[in-house]
Subunit: 239 residues, 2 copies
């Protein structure tokens, strides 16, 4: 936990927070926090700063806090992914949040097993839990937005063209594709298929919506490897 | 399984192989392989090519095979990592193999829990198993070499200077570091610390061995995210 995320409900005065539950437990047992120690803190969707431990109890602790820095710059990216299997979904949400993705669409595809849409991980509280873990890892506060689209065709026909317009719009697809373009700090729309890729019909619909196919060379990467590889190739900003 | 890896022991004639066990099971149940179907094959540490299914039985199947392509170009990289915790080690071996790493040193660090060195995953057969999975994913045949170094100081003092000499020698460390350099196709030595980073003493020893500290910006990445990010920033080759 490189950052302690704070919520409006934690504030007992404008400069003092009281935290309990998972964050309190983590600070007591893992960090062995003592009164007087300082930690990085950040308000959800707000500024970063520092917190100094005042009191530590069995069930909660208090910090005096001050905020002075903006969170890291977000990626100018609209990321669209075929829904991964649950274990990979979990890690993908955390990694996307860590890398600075702020808008993620999870869509259907022929190769997405129907059962994946029933996973408890897609409940809003579970999604939020994994996004928060990703933010705490990176030291970021801005919560990403996750959009679920269970039906491929309506999304790609009705929504995607407007999303893609005036952006560098790409679909990572290993076949009949141009090499991945150079890093540029510009609005980007990027679609990544399921393991095994989008099927030809889907690639055609994505092209019609304005996305150009790109590849990463001869090696076929797992989706969860492709995400950090693509993001670090497409954007020049150090994360 | 994007590639079926073949071993010398599979060959019953120079152009015919018989495979059983995991690979046979996978082809029967997941791919539902039929006689006449063609698959990508590659000989371990050899060429890539195609195999056509001839016969399929309960316990084995045969393929007629021909080889015509070199495997993907390896990364000119000597990767040194503080030993990750077992679950992450597993994924790291697979990801490193997938991305084209051919030499990986797993070393000790203050923040590496002693128990990690006792994991059964460090047995040669388990290491090999995960490397092969990574190769099958990428469509590569060249098996990486893994070097275990349980003692940090002798490795960094006695071996590392010679390894690093005449290479672009770097240690990914978030503090007091230069930004990650641009992509270049050149021999590189890269050290990545444990979660929480190398301690100051270790960073100093790595510098003495000739490694320069680099950072990836304000976001702190997990080790398993940092590996694909660093490799895709440091090398221009599409994978």
């Amino acid at each position: 936990m490189n950052l302690i995320l704070l919520y409006t409900s934690d504030f007992i005065t404008p400069h003092r927070v009281q935290i309990s539950g998972r964050r309190h437990q983590h600070m007591r047992s893992i960090h062995q926090a003592q009164a007087g120690e300082t930690f990085r803190v950040g308000v959800l969707n707000g500024l970063l700063g520092e917190g100094t431990v005042e009191t530590i109890g069995e069930h909660s602790l208090t910090l005096s806090v001050r905020f002075d820095r903006a969170p890291p710059t977000p990626l100018p990216l609209q990321l669209i992914m075929a829904l991964p299997r649950p274990k990979m979904l979990k890690r993908t949400l955390e990694t996307a949040a860590t890398l600075g993705v702020k808008d993620l669409w999870l869509i259907n595809s022929y190769r997405v097993d129907k059962s994946y849409w029933s996973t408890p991980l897609l409940r809003p509280d579970k999604i939020r839990e994994h996004l928060l873990l990703g933010l705490e890892q990176a030291g970021d506060t801005r919560l990403p937005r996750i959009h679920l689209r269970k039906r491929f065709k309506p999304f790609v026909e009705d929504e995607l063209p407007a999303l893609a317009r005036n952006t560098r719009a790409l679909v990572a697809h290993p076949y009949q594709a141009a090499p991945c373009p150079a890093a540029q700090d510009r609005p980007t729309t990027l679609a990544i298929g399921p393991e095994g890729g989008f099927i030809p019909y889907e690639v055609e619909k994505l092209r019609e919506a304005g996305l150009n196919t790109i590849h990463l060379g001869p090696r076929i990467l797992r989706v969860e490897t492709a995400v950090p590889v693509l993001l670090s190739r497409l954007f020049p900003l150090t994360f």
